[in-house]
């Protein structure tokens, strides 16, 4: 049985590492890119992600994966909203990750209901 040459093994390992690295980069959002891409969102959702008009949701500090899910559903049409269909439709998968990462990172007025229920 032929033994694999060390150089070749190293090359293959390097390739695998590079692929894994780029896959990880694509799977998570980039805050700085998200900030740039969030400009159109700010008109309704506020410059800081805390919309002052009560008809629009606050996005600052919302769970990242929930924001991703919402954008995906607007994009696919599962969640119906004329305004959001237009915006989400123009976003790539990477844009969705970046924008969600950015808004979830902002200082929040939101929280869960723990401690706010009757008897707590």
């Amino acid at each position: 049985m032929q033994t694999m040459r060390p150089i070749r093994t190293l090359q293959i390992l390097g390739l695998i590492a590079a692929l894994a690295c780029s896959a990880a980069a694509a799977a998570s959002g980039n805050l700085e890119a998200g900030k740039q891409k969030s400009t159109p969102c700010q008109a309704c959702h506020g410059a800081d992600g805390n919309a002052t008009d009560p008809q629009y949701p606050r996005l600052a500090g919302q769970y990242r994966d929930y924001l991703e899910q919402a954008l995906k559903e607007y994009k696919s049409g599962k969640r119906k909203n004329a305004i959001m269909a237009g915006f989400a439709g123009s976003l790539s998968d990477q844009d969705v990750l970046d924008v969600a990462a950015y808004f979830s990172s902002l200082p929040s007025k939101l929280g869960d209901l723990h401690g706010h229920l009757q008897g707590q």
Binding site: A51, Q62, H114, H116, Q118
Partner: protein, 106 residues
């Protein structure tokens, strides 16, 4: 003159009653969000299939919450659990819950 005054009073009363029904009562909402806590009150709680955190709703804007709950109630916004919750809520319940949740902004 007296007839005009009576009519004006009647109209004002009707308008007031109309706005009272439309406005949410945060104190009433506090007791009505008890069920919501089963998911939204557990930090880190996740929706299954697909997997994502249930949203933080304490401190969310009132009109958005009202629109969301109504859309769940009618089925315009699809989510089995939230559809069931929405269906169990009256218009007044929705107003009250939105008033309470929005009052929790940090």
């Amino acid at each position: 003159m007296s007839r005009t005054l009576l009519l004006a009073t009647l109209l004002a009363t009707a308008a007031f009653a109309g706005s009272a029904a439309a406005a949410g009562n945060a104190e009433a909402g506090r007791t009505k969000v008890y069920t919501c806590g089963g998911c939204h009150g557990v930090t880190g709680y996740k929706n299954a299939y697909p997997n994502y955190h249930v949203p933080r709703i304490a401190g969310q804007n009132a009109d958005y919450l009202i629109a969301a709950l109504k859309a769940y109630k009618t089925g315009d916004r699809e989510h089995p659990t939230m559809r069931a919750q929405g269906e169990s809520l009256s218009e007044q319940d929705i107003q009250d819950i939105a008033a309470y949740l929005s009052s929790l902004a940090q």
